[in-house]
Symmetry: C2
Subunit: 241 residues, 2 copies
DNA sequence: ACGCCCTTGTGAACATTTGCACAAAGTCGC
DNA sequence: GCGACTTTGTGCAAATGTTCACAAGGGCGT
């Protein structure tokens, strides 16, 4: 690491890979709280979160030294420290754009709210959809975006069709949104400094398919299956349907 | 990994990071096909897929040498080669477990089918839900699982509540499912060799929140913003750009 | 048929992430 | 109080992933 002179404790610059795992630790801690557990070792927490204990300790070391050697971590204190590192000490207002099937499901799903986010606005460009009520909110037109960002909304969710995703992203960025969660199955290009994360089921399934294919191929190990014959292998799978 | 001596051309062992990007390339190629584009350079495809061209070329090099120097890649041929590498030369049957809000939405969402997967069964443990019709299928009890795997189903989707996720995973693994896509916000433990991927919106939002927080903090750079005052920061966001 | 020009495929440098192993540090029983 | 025992936090090495930069290769115009 560069010799970052002062650098208070360790508050700045947690590696991306570690940041991506923090929410999992948070969730595991919540589960333990619900079970009435007050203290955990890195080993126990690691199992609950599905990682190795060494990785867990290394990750936590980036946010400071909150464990007690020989004992473990205090569940509620660690929960607080991770929350703070992630910026969840206050709720973040979120806007969802695109009120189709997915947008409605997300708007009504309580999973956000419990985790430090609150859906404060629902937008759609279709005049037919604008004005409809979804849960506690009324769908608004795209033109209100600047007003939303003006009042502090910085996270946007794209739930519009793929071909509209880039337009929506442009509108969000133009209005000052700095972080985007994209459910549309397409990449969006944004300026430097704007964060985009994509959630795509088809991609996830395709990645699983790759691993399944490998398993099938290695199951027929004995046969070198080199060259020509290889292509037939996938068919094998009993798949009677 | 053991040093796999012979290793034909490049068919085996594509790095995980590359595999995770292949679906994105596939999607980008589909978009180009729809636009009537027959040939692309790595640079153009990289922009469409949202990666750097060097990364794209390196990734593709793991599946073979399918480009033409000075020209680029033939869209339909590259599409085929990526499909083949991912194991998408045939459809994969999928079972969804948990027919609540999310399960129903997934079952009726066409996004799977277009991409090489077909939902062949819907399961739930609740007798009230079993027998209901969702789209073209009737919800079946958990007891049919072994029959499904017997006929070739190897990919399962968990759309049950978090506290049931481990039980469902155990049932899936016990029946012979080898790959699981888990939508419940909890980690599941499975034996070696079983693949699990998790999709969790709250985690994604929390990761975005971390980056937003950093942006806010660096905006108030001069001020150390240590301790107490920090919590007010988020409201600020002048985000004039 | 030749050479120019363009883009691929890849070796090598660099960066990040993971895993190991253990000294440091604290608790708890006695 | 003190020593034995437990578990953290971390230095280091290995593995994995990314970026750079360019030689090799192939088409296309002439
Ligand atoms: N339905 C699912 O289960 C599901 C699951 C995963 C991903 N997705 C993806 O999510 C996206 C939305 O899916 P859906 O089923 O809700 O689609 P949908 O067609 O039901 O809804 C899309 C909504 O977006 C609005 N919209 C279109 N263009 C817009 C624009 N430029 N600005 C603002 N709003 C616009 C439309 O008016 C419509 O209300 C799609 O990209 C889809 O692939 C859907
Ligand atoms: N609703 C959403 O928009 C959404 C979005 C993201 C993630 N999720 C997550 O997806 C999961 C399901 O959400 P939901 O809203 O559909 O919940 P839900 O309560 O509507 O549905 C859950 C279904 O699972 C069934 N089930 C429960 N235990 C089971 C078991 N052991 N075996 C088989 N089936 C069982 C129930 O009978 C019920 O039909 C949850 O973990 C939720 O956090 C939901």
């Amino acid at each position: 690491m560069p010799p970052v002179s002062v650098e208070s404790a360790a508050e700045r610059g947690i590696p991306d890979a570690a940041v991506a795992r923090l929410p999992g630790y948070l969730r595991a801690l919540d589960t333990m709280t619900a079970s009435g557990i007050a203290s955990v070792s890195s080993e126990e927490l690691a199992v609950e979160a599905g990682v190795s204990s060494a990785k867990l300790r290394k990750d936590l070391s980036h946010l400071g030294s909150y464990g007690v050697r020989g004992v473990g971590y205090d569940v509620s204190h660690l929960r607080y420290e991770i929350s703070r590192a992630l910026g969840l000490t206050h709720d973040w207002p979120v806007v969802i754009v695109g009120m189709g099937n997915l947008g409605r499901a997300l708007a009504q799903y309580g999973g956000f709210e419990q985790q430090g986010f609150s859906v404060v606005a629902l937008l759609d460009h279709d005049p037919e959809v604008v004005g409809q009520r979804v849960g506690d909110l009324v769908v608004q037109p795209m033109t209100v975006l600047p007003a939303l960002t003006g009042s502090g909304v910085v996270i946007g969710v794209i739930a519009a069709p793929a071909q509209a995703a880039q337009d929506v992203a442009d509108a969000l960025v133009g209005a000052g949104i700095g972080s985007i969660l994209n459910f549309a199955p397409s990449a969006v290009n944004v300026p430097d400094g704007v964060q985009v994360r994509r959630v795509d089921l088809a991609s996830e399934l395709q990645i699983l398919a790759y691993h399944e294919q490998r398993r099938v191929e290695s199951a027929e190990s004995g046969a070198p299956a080199d060259g020509t014959a290889a292509s037939a292998s996938a068919r094998t799978v009993g798949v009677a349907r």
